[in-house]
């Protein structure tokens, strides 16, 4: 019987595992291999060069360091801002309203807001990017600059000013992500027993105290998950940078990120270098996930 059970389980697992190995691990393996080679054309075999690509990457590739720094900046700003905004929204949608007969609920129209907040999440990232192209466009036909122009204010070069181009792209990421985390945190909040809020209310706790002392600790698991997801997203950003940025990661490399540089290198036929950057990206993401899971680990509270 036991034997039969294993076979049953194996039968179910074999195909997905096979697909996973073939479509995930094999390409990974290839990338690692190519990163150790000089490989410039699909019809020429790769030449093994050891760690040369990585040496060049670290010592003689300024755009790599710029990309890495930008990934770092995004990693610092984007998850934090997204989570804070999402938490505030979620709080108001769920428990921020007036307590009615001892039962707390969201502000008026919270269902409608929830829908509105979630809406950007329904759009594919490239569509969001194209949308913001029109919003950010530097001439009068841009949504924001057109309005500024009507008001007689100076135009803002959202994507062409090296000082704010990266921030403009981060803003789009936040805008797009907030909705999902509002819903995630809302779900988390609704699973927090109402009695706890009622008890806090009876004790005379203000809304902010409730938020800090009740909601936040009990939501920690969700926030942790959100943090890891957003952090990993911070290492990607390809679709947005590709569509939105000027001259693929410009102006003057001010918005480039690792994934963009990988694609730029591929486009220029330098597959070895592209793979080396891809491997760096892999380790960055892995390290981040490991660290954040370790750091944010806390006793989860059962209720």
């Amino acid at each position: 019987m036991r034997h039969g059970k294993y076979r049953f389980v194996a039968g179910f697992l074999a195909l997905p595992v096979l697909l996973y190995v073939f479509y995930v691990w094999v390409p990974f393996g290839y990338s690692f291999y190519f990163s150790l080679t000089r490989y410039r054309g699909t019809d020429v075999p790769p030449v093994f060069v050891g760690l040369d690509n990585f040496t060049t990457l670290f010592t003689d590739t300024p755009e790599f360091w710029k990309a890495l720094t930008h990934n770092g900046v995004i990693l610092l700003i984007m998850p934090l801002v997204t989570i804070v905004i999402a938490l505030i929204f979620a709080f108001f949608l769920n428990v921020g309203g007036k307590a009615k007969g001892g039962v707390t609920s969201g502000v008026r129209g919270s269902k409608f807001y929830r829908l509105v907040f979630f809406f950007p999440q329904l759009l594919a990232l490239p569509i969001v990017a194209v949308l913001f192209q029109s919003i950010y466009r530097p001439d009068d036909s841009g949504l924001i600059n057109g309005a500024l122009n009507k008001l007689g204010l100076p135009k803002i070069g959202f994507l062409i000013d090296t000082n704010i181009a990266l921030l403009s792209i981060i803003a789009v990421m936040v805008w797009q992500a907030v909705g999902f985390y509002v819903v995630l945190f809302s779900a988390g909040m609704s699973s927090i027993p109402k009695e706890i809020y009622e008890a806090a209310d009876l004790d005379g706790a203000s809304r902010w105290t409730m938020f800090y002392k009740v909601t936040l600790p009990l939501l920690w698991d969700n926030i942790q998950v959100g943090w890891v997801y957003l952090g990993i997203a911070a290492f990607d950003v390809f679709a947005l940078v590709d569509v939105l940025s000027v001259n693929r990661g410009g102006p003057s490399f001010s918005t480039t990120v690792l994934s963009m540089e990988v694609v730029n290198k591929i486009g220029a036929g330098n597959y070895g270098m592209a793979s080396a950057m891809g491997v760096m990206l892999f380790f960055c993401t892995l390290t981040f996930a490991a660290i954040s899971l370790r750091v944010t680990k806390r006793e989860s509270i059962e209720y």
């Binding site: 410039r40 019809d43 466009r137 001439d139 090296t162 003057s252 730029n264």
Partner: protein, 478 residues
């Protein structure tokens, strides 16, 4: 989607060479590729006996030998072959049968035939799915075209085919010094404007040097129109193309050659510096900073709508904008201006040959294929091509009498006005990774005022030096 727009002139010959060179190096070591299929016959047995005194039939075509022609029916369709060149061939050799094949997916259909040896005699190796030239060159699957160039022209008495071509044509189809590809279509680069707008406002459509161009920009600016601009978001290439053109005019085409050959200090040449300085000034005074955030289609539309006067591009622009061009808009091209002192006349142009044709080494009717190519390169064959497709060919002056669209007409005039002073550059494609991409970024920095000309040439000189030192990059001498 934010890819650089297609540059028809940019059928990357050099990338092909890079690969071919790398293959050449790799074959002895690895014996890779279909080398097995061809290794034994790497010495081409070319039996065509050439008699160049026989103008009617220098290659000695047998008049009953069948000819198999494969044409890629893309943007140019394949009517020019069926209705012009093949008919001309049939007229010459009435007993011959011409087997025409219009094939979209060249590689999937023709690729295997190279392996089996059942090759066409004449192949338009074009389109997205063209057979990889690197492979064909590396495997020695193609015939040398030297005989074609040396043969007498079909309808220009006293001249060889080579003499009738626009300079640069043969070079553009040469791989490691071997001429293997005929590039038939010519793309001309310049500054485009609306002839009607210029006429109406009384603007000078042919400024000959920097001072005249600046004066023109001043006038345009005074009329409330943005004088000059390009799209920084995805078409920085168009701008360094202009800078290169000015530099070549100021310092001679050798300046570009030095850049292509990665010569020490080539970027710091006075001519490059002067050109960069001038265009940076135009960028700061006579353009719109917002253009950096726009794509080429958006800026081209602005020109169509009349808010931008002069736009740098190639001769494909007119047909690319067909949909958006109002009836009052008439494309015309002016030459890129030059400095006070100039080595090349202002009428010289940057132009490149494209649209590749090859003759397989194992073609059964090699003489026929060469003759077919000679027919294409005859004045009549080329003129009819232009008539049907609206595109210019590599045959100098062939389209002079052909009626074409206004934009093509002005490109044609520019090309014939240039005479022998036609030049191009290859570094942007040859060394795309190390030099082409940095140049795009640096050109935006220069034109939109983040760096000055000195810094510009410094940055690119450093990039070029890095490429030169990098042993992994195949160098291509020009």
């Amino acid at each position: 989607m934010s890819d650089t727009p297609d540059l028809p002139g940019e059928v990357s010959r050099r990338q092909v060479i890079t690969r071919a060179a790398a293959i050449g190096a790799a074959i002895p070591a690895a014996g890779l590729l279909g080398a097995c299929a061809t290794g034994s016959s790497s010495e081409k047995k070319d039996n065509t006996k050439v008699d160049n005194s026989n103008v009617a039939n220098p290659f000695g075509v047998k008049d009953d030998a069948a000819l198999n022609v494969v044409i890629f029916p893309g943007g140019y369709s394949d009517k020019y072959a069926t209705e012009v060149h093949e008919k001309m061939y049939k007229e010459k050799f009435p007993k011959a049968t011409v087997k025409h094949e219009g094939i979209q997916d060249i590689d999937p259909v023709i690729g295997p035939r190279f392996q089996s040896g059942d090759v066409p005699d004449f192949l338009n190796n074009s389109g997205e799915k063209a057979v990889n030239m690197g492979k064909l060159v590396g495997d020695k699957q193609l015939s040398l075209l030297d005989k074609l160039w040396a043969a007498p022209s079909l309808d220009t008495p006293g001249k060889t085919v080579r003499d009738t071509l626009i300079p640069g044509t043969i070079e553009s189809g040469s791989f490691n010094g071997e001429s293997l590809q005929l590039n038939y279509v010519f793309t001309v680069y310049g500054l485009w404007f609306n002839a009607n707008q210029f006429k109406e406002k009384g603007w000078d459509g042919a400024p000959k040097d920097f001072d005249a161009f600046t004066a023109l920009c001043e006038k345009i600016k005074a009329a409330g129109v943005t004088p000059f601009g390009y799209a920084g978001a995805n078409a920085a290439y168009y701008m360094f193309e202009v800078i290169m053109t000015s530099a070549a005019k100021i310092g001679g085409a050798g300046v570009l050659k030095a850049l292509d050959n990665l010569e020490d200090g080539a970027w710091k040449h006075e001519a490059v510096l002067q050109a960069a300085e001038y265009w940076a000034m135009i960028g700061s005074k006579y353009s719109d900073k917002a253009f950096e955030g726009l794509k080429h289609t958006e800026v081209q539309l602005k020109q169509n709508q009349g808010s931008l006067a002069i736009y740098p591009s190639g001769s494909w622009l007119e047909s690319e904008q067909k949909k958006d061009t109002p009836a009052t808009f008439e494309y015309a091209m002016m030459n890129v201006p030059t400095g006070k002192t100039t080595k090349l006349p202002v009428t010289s142009v940057h132009a490149t040959a494209s649209e590749p044709y090859v003759i397989p080494a194992k073609a059964k009717n090699l003489a026929g294929a060469l003759e077919y190519a000679r027919i294409m390169l005859s004045k009549k064959g080329a003129a009819e091509f232009t008539k049907l497709t609206g595109s210019l060919t590599s045959v100098a002056g062939a389209a002079d009498a052909v009626k074409v669209t206004p934009g093509t007409e002005s490109a044609k005039k520019a090309l014939s006005g240039a005479g022998k002073d036609v030049f191009t550059f290859y570094w942007a494609d040859d060394y795309k990774d190390g030099l082409g991409l940095p140049a795009r970024s640096a050109t935006n920095d220069l034109f939109f005022g983040r760096i000055d000309a000195k810094k510009y040439v410094e940055v690119l000189q450093a990039a070029a030096d890095k490429v030169k030192k990098d042993p992994s990059v195949t160098k291509i001498k020009r």
